[in-house]
Symmetry: C2
Subunit: 506 residues, 2 copies
Amino acid sequence: MGKQAKTAIEPTREKNYPEWYQEVIKASDMAEISPVRGCMVIKPWGYSLWENIVRVLDDMFKETGVKNAYFPLFIPISFLEKEAEHVEGFAKECAVVTHHKLEKGENGTLVPAGKLTEPLIVRPTSETIIGDSFSKWINSYRDLPVLINQWANVVRWEMRTRIFLRTSEFLWQEGHTVHATKEEAVARTKMMLDVYQKMAQEYLAIPVITGEKTESERFPGAETTTCIEAMMQDRKALQAGTSHFLGQNFAKASDIRFQSDKETEEYGWTTSWGVSTRLIGGLVMTHSDDNGIILPPRVASSHVVLLPIIRKDKDKTTVMDYTSRLASRLREKTYYDRPIRVEIDDRNIGGTRNWDWIKKGIPLRVEIGPKDIESDSVFVGRRDKDHRDKAAIQKDVFVNEICDILDEIQNTLFQKALAYKNKYTRNIDELEIFNAFFTPKNNERPEIHGGFAMSHWCGDAICEKRIKERLNVTIRCIPYNQENEAGKCIECGKESNKRVVFAKAY
Amino acid sequence: MGKQAKTAIEPTREKNYPEWYQEVIKASDMAEISPVRGCMVIKPWGYSLWENIVRVLDDMFKETGVKNAYFPLFIPISFLEKEAEHVEGFAKECAVVTHHKLEKGENGTLVPAGKLTEPLIVRPTSETIIGDSFSKWINSYRDLPVLINQWANVVRWEMRTRIFLRTSEFLWQEGHTVHATKEEAVARTKMMLDVYQKMAQEYLAIPVITGEKTESERFPGAETTTCIEAMMQDRKALQAGTSHFLGQNFAKASDIRFQSDKETEEYGWTTSWGVSTRLIGGLVMTHSDDNGIILPPRVASSHVVLLPIIRKDKDKTTVMDYTSRLASRLREKTYYDRPIRVEIDDRNIGGTRNWDWIKKGIPLRVEIGPKDIESDSVFVGRRDKDHRDKAAIQKDVFVNEICDILDEIQNTLFQKALAYKNKYTRNIDELEIFNAFFTPKNNERPEIHGGFAMSHWCGDAICEKRIKERLNVTIRCIPYNQENEAGKCIECGKESNKRVVFAKAY
């Protein structure tokens, strides 16, 4: 291979990161923009990835005692209005249903008819409608805790959309719990954040920082918002999951009261927590390269594609039989509690076939030709290595070791992402360096800046606001797992005892 | 037990069937009416049943090559209008989104703002929006067949709603396929109907009749609608699933064209097929008795509840240890590819505890007290038997045989439902008997009538309409699996060569 290798994705990350992202999604065949403004179509290759994410999370939730349920898609405006900050946060961008049928209008086209007495909004999140049910379900401390999760679609009428990362409709889960004490609700908030961290790091191979949001970045109506934040390859932050301690705000708004074991009447303490199809966007932006996406094996849509190589008709039966026997053997093996997922692609379309699977990000590509069969071996390409770097492996060895190989790829992806995040995360204590860190050096690539700055902050929202206005940089979180450390606020110089994560963000 | 046994559900089926149904659902804790008109809240006990149904169907679909995907919740009116019959069928009852935000109105309350240039409807079904994607995905015969399924919520603004059976929002799956030939599309339509029949009979224990709808009962835009029809305990029919052959109607409406292997340009042949949470309503109306629901073991929310009996404090540790060890052993066993689902209920609330589980329809209730432990046995009640009919079984025998016992219950439920359906299905050849069959004898119970009449029909929509107007009876289907038989139309006396199923229906 003396030629300069071309990349499969044009433009490259280097040339134009936002366009590269769109092209990677397109080339992977995971999803596409729909004709409905801001909504996406999730195609089978993308949906299968989502199904795997759902299965892992759902099992984790259930292990903590959470049960699934389903609540209405529509929320009456009067419900939304029950919590003042909440309505403030969501009224600006929501789909409003005002009519319940269509009728022929004057010029023969269909127009809305049957006006509703109270308009409904399509749920942007379900605290208020679920709270209404909780208020009926809960009477006594014996009914607590209530631990509910819902897998659902939600709608937020975003002005600027970007596939998977910010869409008008997206798929998510929203957990909602009620507890008898503040301590228990706070502990549940942290427990679910831990679940999200585990999911991100151990399954999606995305290293994350966990911590608390500042007041200005909190979920509307929450007392505390905790989050996992990841670094994308343009060094921007992505909020990948949030877990909220809601105090008694929503319990008061929805009248969730119970009789305590001391026979007093109390309001419940609630939490809510969610992750969405945005995780897929985060996964793509973390692991993809200039040849397309790279799927982490533990959630990959599929693990391995078998590519029979048939140059002469007489070889066809031998090669196809060998291929389908290998597929059966692989499918009998278990990786992370589920059978290995195997594709067979026997299209006769030349090199395009191999590139299709590289762009789809499948962890392993296995070529099977007459010569390989003669030596009872297979020719294996790994998506975490250069596309030309393929190796012959004895078939039985490959079958026996496939789970180890997949875990090796999983680990490589995580370590690579972790190294990237660490490389572009810096402790910064001087304002001049801080400003320079977030100022792109090259105007042609405005997205390339320093990364995450770990700097001191006095706790004042005014400093936070100034930085945001000047640099479009926000405090992503006040991270957990740090020792107190005396320092000075990067903006005003006042005393501070902790560093926070500053970054540009999606 | 000398006393007259009271029933747990009031009123009984006999006294008031529709109210009995509502009460059964309520007592089972499966679902409840929501404050949003016509929408329901599916509670954990009901949702878990749905999850099991979903898992079984999803595996069956995937075995036939179908892949899951996800399409937008919203459909532009212009899309709906592409197929004339289709829009006619759905425009009358759909939720219309006209605005994308809320603003404070004159009196301080929130009012819709940000009017959309083209209103959107919330999907009542997705042929048109999915067709738009298909038209982009398909170019050549090599791209075919396309076999897609979507698990989603849909909205039809029903005027009269009944929990699970007819709700404004419901959960369902909708399969959509495109084929190069008519034959292949017709075969797929039948294949999916067979999947539904298998699901209904082998998992839900609901015997069904399969057949084709008459023209007047077809899905709007379909060439052929095939269906599974079941008999409820009030002898009414429930359409439990449909599979449509759409011909080239939707392919023409959505411009789904492909280049054939003869290099001609052709329209695709499409199918669609769906079942919904209505299946749960059908399951309840098929198997429940006057003590509540009875869950078929193969899809039951849970299989067995362990009820520790602790009368003295000193017994507590022994009984609870024995119970939790038994639970672990049962959970290690596999029933229909999944672990046995076990509940432990240690609430100290007297007889209410046992009745709660009877009303929830769990297949097995197991009492464990100090005396049972002494003899290493358990005291087992089966939901398919009288609630007083319990038996001591050696614990090891119970553990070893639990899967057989569950399958025995499954089989009993199916056989009982089949006997009921057969008992109230009659060949009727005389109009007078036909009319009497569908005329309630007792005005206080207007729902009790004859059942299914297998009668001849000439094929004329006028006869069908007359019968509907006179008796509120419709042709449920022209059943498959019947020999041609010469006869005379029950309404007009003209010649007919087949019987059809007449019934009142949900």
